[in-house]
Amino acid sequence: MYMPGQYSKVDEILELHGYNKSSVIAIIQDIQKEFRYLPAEILSYVAKKLGLSEAKIYSVATFYENFSLEPKGKYVIRICDGTACHVRKSIPILNAIKKALNLSGKKHTTDDMLFTVETVSCLGACGLAPVITVNDTVYPKATPESVISLLNELKEKSE
């Protein structure tokens, strides 16, 4: 799936962190930023370069919620379901988005790889609850209606 040329980007990242074993979390964070997920070949490559076992690198990659072993969509929509957002009705928003994008229980990414929908525990923007983020941009005081029009905007933008 990955061309050999793309490993040069990985080398760059490894170089930046000085091939330091204890920086493994920061390294895979940068890799995920670059590829939008953690491709298996690249994880093996990183393990080899850092002198770690594959088991070790997978143990880290699977422990933290932010890491994804599956490709994510162009727009990652995160619906905050922290306490403040929850009591201000965040779940109806999640349901509206899932319905609009035809996503269900285990399916988080649309077939056209445009959207990934996930929930997050708290984004710390509780004063504006309920909030959602799209690729780190915060959208405050969301409602099921406002998110649907946001989805349409994003769809138009990428056409």
Partner: protein
């Protein structure tokens, strides 16, 4: 521009103070996460353009000579509900919900002609409140740790220095290690991250260790849902945290420090990185700081989304590049923390208190708040309350003052039901507790805890059983899986709670819940597990009748639990037309024509078809 000695630092301070005094008017645009989401960065750019066009824009640097206007991106003001916020100095006007289109008017009226823009100001009934300090939301607060948040440019080390920044570090070095530890110990500063352990005792323990390689670590993994105090300090006044950490490092003999910030705070990480870089440029981080022989280097680590990393030993494991899992204690972090070395681990707010205490002395600090919990505490006030946002009050302030005087009461005039304090590790407090003082010890007695300081207000429409389920779901998700009580126990508790909200619970379930809660809190490995059952225990204690409603009467009075909703026919409104009984797919509705019909609850599948069919609006859900 290097502050190589206390003397050069003072010289720099003088010139920055001078530059600051040349800013005859200041426009402070809030650039906290909340206001940025509302578009405040564009507002900031617009004001900058306007200032350049109509007057003279003064930056706080060494070149400032001419009088003019200062435009700055400030940290969070805390009044997030009303953002984007713009503060004008020296008049103290605070403009609320400012839009890009308002900038011209504000500039024209307020900056050029000294007139307020009334329509953007806070009002009490019909009276306009002229200054920010008089708005009820701010009036009852004591902003000490958050003093600079909203009042200085968060990105500017120059402004921090002008506001006496890094003078506490100078003072600390002059006082010497032992005296600094004595002051922090005697001030009785207690850890703001939740437990309330005395910071001075921790520092003294690290200082006593034989091992000479030591670390200072700042816990910025503010994972409690509903809490964002630390985020606001990181975004609004990053240098205060850095200065606090440096004082701790100096006093305990550490040469290296780490700040662990959760991944969900990208803006905080950005500001912090700039702050650390600036401090390095000024020679305030690095070798031979202020010509004192003190060396200090500071690293920033970003989390990757694991709540358990807020626990000390899990956090250090994560910095080391491992799975963030807690370990058995002892040895404690002060003996063997990061890389097995003695480690001072405090949270953001705790460190931010340190420069203030060093500047004013321990006696001064002890006079704020109650004897056993001195100082102030920042709370994130959220949920069903009118004024959500970040507040800071002296410890010992009552819940009533916080929720009603500062928070402006419950939203939409509904009745106050409970407040969840301390996040998933805390408990809930009811209206009977409105007058208890908020401090470490009095909350502990009630089975709640200050935690990191999240206060989520719940109104009469909130189902407390559902809230307990929500928190248990959270903890269950975040359980790292290392120890059995937490991994298996929280799972069983969650199953029971799910059963109850689905209307399938029994009275026996409540006893099982209590038994499990007791076992888990006694046997779990770390704080996450030990406190996981708290929300269940406290809701069972204060809202047992709601549990009974769910398991015995199969009712959820707040109407939150879908499965327990009932559809009923209002006998007074029903004309007996029989339309609903014909439409009901399970033949649950029966009756005589022209007399009120009835729904058989056992047969009803709550599809709601009858509600829509009724021409007299006689059928409703409750």
């Amino acid at each position: 521009m290097r502050a190589d000695s206390p003397k050069t630092l003072e010289q720099l301070r003088e010139s920055y103070k001078n530059a600051l005094s040349l800013q005859k008017k200041k426009i402070l645009v809030c650039a906290g996460t909340g206001c940025v989401a509302g578009g405040s960065l564009k507002i900031y750019e617009q004001f900058k353009k306007l200032a350049e066009k109509h007057s003279h824009l003064v930056e706080v640097n060494l070149e400032a000579e001419k009088e003019g206007i200062g435009v700055k991106k400030s940290g969070c003001h805390g009044y997030c509900e009303m953002g984007p916020l713009v503060r004008i100095e020296p008049s103290g006007y605070l403009y609320l919900k400012v839009q890009l289109g308002d900038c011209d008017e504000i500039f024209e009226k307020t900056i050029l002609n000294d007139e307020p823009v009334i329509r953007l100001m806070s009002k009490n009934e019909n009276e306009v409140i002229m200054s920010q300090e008089d708005i009820p939301f701010y009036k009852k607060q004591t902003r000490m740790v958050l003093e600079n948040c909203g009042h200085i440019d968060a990105d500017s080390i120059e402004e921090y220095i002008a506001k006496d920044g890094y003078s506490s570090l100078v003072k600390a070095i002059k006082l010497g290690q032992d005296e600094v530890i004595r002051i922090i110990s005697d001030s009785n500063l207690r850890g703001r991250g939740g437990g309330g352990f005395p910071a001075g005792r921790k520092w003294a323990q690290v200082k006593r260790q034989k091992e000479t390689v030591r670390y200072v670590v700042c816990n910025g993994d503010e994972g409690d849902p509903g809490a964002f105090m630390d985020r606001s300090i990181l975004e609004g006044d990053p240098h205060k945290l850095i200065e606090g950490m440096m004082i701790a490092a100096y006093a305990t003999g550490c040469k290296e420090g780490y700040i662990y910030v959760r991944a969900e705070y990208p803006l905080a990480v950005e500001r912090l990185k700039k702050a650390v870089d600036d401090a390095k440029k000024f020679g305030l981080i690095g070798g031979n700081i202020l010509n004192s022989g003190f060396h200090f280097d500071l690293h920033i680590n970003q989390g990757a989304g694991a709540f358990v990393c807020g626990e000390g030993s899990a956090l250090t494991a994560s910095i080391e590049g491992d799975r963030g899992m807690p370990r058995v204690k002892p040895p404690r972090t002060v003996e063997q923390g990061l890389w097995g070395k003695p480690t001072v681990l405090n949270n953001v707010e705790t460190f931010a208190n340190v420069p203030i205490i060093i500047r004013n002395g321990d006696e001064w600090y002890r006079n704020i708040g109650p004897e056993n919990s001195p100082g102030t505490k920042a709370f994130a006030l959220t949920g069903n309350v009118n004024n959500t946002g970040l507040i800071e009050v002296p410890m010992g302030t009552t819940l009533r003052e916080v929720i009603f005087d500062i928070g402006g009461g419950v939203k939409n005039g509904k009745e106050f039901k409970a407040v969840q304090i301390g996040g998933p590790s805390g408990g809930c407090l009811t209206k009977d507790h409105l007058d208890i003082p908020l401090d470490f010890d009095s909350l502990k007695k009630l089975g709640a805890m200050i935690g990191s300081g999240g206060l989520v207000v719940m109104d009469s429409d909130t189902c407390m059983v559902e809230v307990a389920r929500f928190f248990m779901n959270f903890t269950q998700n975040e359980s790292c899986g290392k120890c059995v009580p937490c991994r298996e126990g929280t799972k069983r508790m969650l199953e029971i709670l799910e059963r109850i909200v689905a209307g399938k619970g029994t009275e026996e379930d409540l006893e099982t819940l209590e038994e499990l809660a007791d076992t888990i809190s006694k046997t779990a490995l770390c704080g996450l597990g030990k406190s996981a059952a708290n929300p269940v225990v406290s809701t069972l204690k204060y809202f047992r009748n709601e549990y009974i409603d769910h398991v015995v009467h199969k009712r959820c009075k707040s109407g939150t639990c879908q499965a327990l909703r009932r559809i009923v026919i209002d006998a007074e409104k029903c004309k007996g037309c029989s339309k609903c009984s014909r439409i009901c797919p399970v033949s649950a509705i029966t009756g005589k024509v022209k007399e009120p019909f009835e729904i058989n609850q056992e047969k009803c599948i709550k599809c709601g078809a009858c509600i829509e069919s009724c021409a007299f609006k006689a059928i409703r859900e409750e």
